[in-house]
């Protein structure tokens, strides 16, 4: 290899150079700004994590797997995974190999930013070596890999259904500029390298292309325009990058170390939240996932659009989107980069100023205290159960049948668990209720608290401090009673499909226990979308503005998913799901406790016949 130009410079590198300097400067400024926005403690924690060896290893590994190989995306959708990893990994390899080439053949030029990118223009091949051939082969191979990815990307733009995406994001103008310049970069690179391949050498892609071009463009003057075009495409892409969804490329590399350091959202716009918002690639996976999107009018309220509006600073829309969401958490469960859509919205709600704030700190709860008795088990049905009293009735019936001495803490009414206040962003008020409930429970002398409502279960298991008291969901508790032989249900031959309530499922990762219980007392079928992909029933308390009349379509969609399992009936473990489904379901809907109670009743009946 020998250099073609003593100066090692040509004006065509300028667009690329400008774009590169701009984007690096912008990112450096952004990082400093976000670091300054972090609370002092978080900043310390983050900076310390950057010098902790095992976190460094985890960071490198996560960035390699997620940013370059897109492992998560592969698991979700192979076509999309291939498309993204071929572009990201291929591009990374082109840059890396470019640097290796420069290091190998003209190490003194490595200080020029542009040399590895435009290497083929600046050098001439004067000898054929095996090393050079391998390098050139690899360069062409990865270029081909990227081009395959680009072809897939173009196909996806035209027909997203081929990729299994029903809907994809509507791009903004800037996103379109970014998209088209990104698409242009690699074909132009192929063109540029092909035009110089007879001088600088090439491999299986560039050399044949060079033969073809030389048939009718046998003039070396054609070279320069293609290199200019390649450089301009790169320059344009990098100049618009901060204002497009492609900002997720640098932002995700920042998000991963921050998440590994254990940071969390503390402000809806600043610091960690900002990084999350910038990391949103705008892929639109959350659109199909969102239960609200069954209605076209709600599509613009999905997390991908929330992120876009936050980036634009459109306060009115941010408020609307934040209030409408059901907080079911599915967008977060399917998100490839892990944007916490529900949390962003809750923080946004928590920012509001109120003229009057509830104050429960002075509340006298002595009247609500559970009756003094020796029973060590407390049952808290939660206030939602007041709308579906059958749950409370069957839970207590089951407990009686098992011979468990218990007290029903809120039989005559009680306090709310505080979760609805949390979802409304009223953290302080929620904390006051939590303290009051803690006082009641600890004062009762119980050692087990059984909960039948997933909304209560989430907050009790995550935010309550109840030393010496075991907080247990009724599904787990009943399974234990069955295992210890205190309950002997007769397995029913009705086949149920279990609907995961959002709060216990995605909220607490509580998936297996309810299935275990259901499997022990009845037949069980699985819906196509279940566990973390379960579809919200539409009754969620998370939404502040969505009226109940507007939720029918969501409930029907969720039921459709459950019916697809061909089960005879629907089982759920949430008073809200039960109430919402019962309104529209054509098949019976029952709570786990009701099913168990039925299974116990039949046992009693059979006992009687045996005895009789």
């Amino acid at each position: 290899m020998k250099e073609r130009f003593a100066s090692g410079f040509d004006p065509f590198v300028l667009p690329f150079l400008l774009g590169m300097i701009f984007v690096l400067g912008y990112c450096a400024y952004g990082i400093v700004r976000i670091l300054l926005q972090l609370p002092r403690k978080d900043r310390r924690r983050f900076l310390l994590s950057l010098i902790t060896p095992h976190i460094i290893l985890k960071n490198v590994w996560d960035i390699f797997c997620n940013c370059l190989l897109h492992v998560k995306l592969w698991k979700r959708n192979k076509m999309l995974g291939f498309m993204h990893s071929s572009i990201a990994f291929g591009w990374f390899m082109l840059i890396l190999l470019g640097h290796i080439e420069v290091m190998a053949y003209c190490p003194d030029r490595i200080r020029f930013f542009y040399y590895p990118i435009f290497f083929n223009y600046f050098v001439a091949e004067n000898e054929s070596t095996i090393g050079g051939a391998v390098l050139f082969f690899l360069m062409d191979f990865f270029l081909l890999m990227i081009l395959t990815g680009i072809v897939l990307a173009v196909v996806k733009r035209v027909r997203s259904r081929i990729f299994g995406m029903r809907r994809t994001t509507r791009l903004s103008l800037m996103d379109n500029i970014g998209l088209y310049s990104l698409w242009a970069i690699f074909p132009l690179r192929l063109l540029a390298e092909s035009f110089t391949a007879h001088i600088s050498g090439g491999s299986f892609l560039t050399i044949p292309a060079n033969w073809v071009f030389r048939q009718f463009l046998g003039n070396d003057l054609n070279m320069l325009p293609t290199w200019w075009a390649y450089s301009i495409a790169l320059g344009v892409f990098m100049c618009v990058l901060p204002f497009t969804r492609y900002m997720h490329i640098p932002a995700e590399m920042m998000l991963i170390p921050m998440r590994n350091a254990g940071l969390r959202i503390r402000h809806p716009r600043k610091g960690f939240a900002r990084i999350e918002v910038l990391s949103c690639p705008g892929c639109g996976v959350c659109i199909d996932a969102c239960p609200m999107s069954v209605k076209k009018a709600n599509i613009k309220d999905c997390t991908v659009y929330l992120n876009r509006q936050i980036r634009r600073g459109n306060e009115k829309r941010i408020e609307e989107i934040s209030d409408k969401c059901l907080l079911c958490g599915k967008c977060e469960a399917v998100c490839q980069v892990g944007v916490e859509g529900p949390l962003l919205r809750m923080e946004q709600r928590a920012m509001r100023k109120y003229g009057l704030s509830q104050d429960f700190s002075g509340l006298d709860v002595s009247l609500l205290a559970p009756a003094a008795s020796g029973a060590k088990v407390l049952y808290f049905s939660g206030c939602m159960t007041r709308l579906t009293p059958s749950i409370g009735k069957s839970v207590t019936s089951v407990l009686h049948k098992a011979g468990v001495g218990f007290r029903w803490m809120d039989e005559e009414g009680g306090l709310c668990c505080g979760r609805p206040l949390q979802t409304a962003g009223r953290y302080e008020q929620a904390a006051q209720l939590i303290r009051k409930n803690e006082e009641l429970i600890l004062g009762s002398g119980a050692d087990t608290l059984v909960l039948s409502c997933p909304i209560c279960y989430k907050i009790f298991s995550q935010d309550y401090k109840l030393p010496g008291v075991r907080v247990v969901n009724y599904a787990t508790y009943f399974s234990e009673l069955i295992a210890s032989g205190r309950l002997n249900p007769v397995k029913s031959d009705i086949c149920y499909v279990y609907h995961d309530p959002c709060e216990s499922g995605r909220g607490c990762g509580y998936y297996d226990e309810p299935r275990k219980l259901l499997g022990a007392i009845a037949g069980i079928a699985e819906a196509p979308m279940s566990r973390s992909e379960s579809v919200c029933c539409g009754g969620s308390l998370g939404s502040l503005t969505l009226e109940f009349a507007q939720r029918e379509a969501m409930t029907r969609k969720s039921l459709e998913n459950l019916y697809a399992s061909r089960a005879d009936a629907v089982a759920t473990a949430c008073p809200l799901c039960l109430a919402t489904f019962s309104r529209y379901s054509e098949r019976p809907v029952r709570d786990l406790s009701e099913i168990l109670d039925l299974a116990l009743k039949s046992e009693k009946a059979s006992d009687r016949t045996v005895r009789g």
């Binding site: 009057l356 009247l367 939602m384 502040l544 009226e547 009349a549």
Partner: protein
């Protein structure tokens, strides 16, 4: 006045001319649904807070329409939202209370 062991109860008549309906007017603007309330009381029956505080959305709306003080009732709402689930008129009472808390000015 001498103490007879009993007294006259305060007049409960409402003078619509002398009332300050500013808060209700503002609420009506923000939550037009409130106009459809027919005071059926489903919300009061479903209310968790009513047991220990006398909270009732029905009463709250009536009091607002009569220019009466609602601070105590408003201050005991735990936002559980059952009132909006049972409302036969489909009024989003939970959001109504949040809006009211936002525009409420303490005397």
């Amino acid at each position: 006045m001498p103490d007879f062991g009993f007294s006259l109860s305060k007049s409960s008549s409402v003078s619509l001319d002398s009332l300050d309906l500013g808060l209700y007017g503002e609420l009506e603007r923000l939550e037009p649904g409130v106009k459809t309330c027919m005071a059926c009381g489903s919300c009061s029956a479903a209310c968790t807070a009513s047991v220990w505080s006398g909270m009732s959305v029905r009463k709250l709306i009536l009091n607002l329409q009569r220019g009466k003080d609602v601070e105590k009732m408003l201050g005991s709402c735990m936002l559980c939202g059952k009132c909006s689930m049972v409302c036969p008129r489909g009024i989003n009472t939970r959001h109504l209370i949040l809006s009211l808390c936002r525009i409420y000015k303490k005397q």
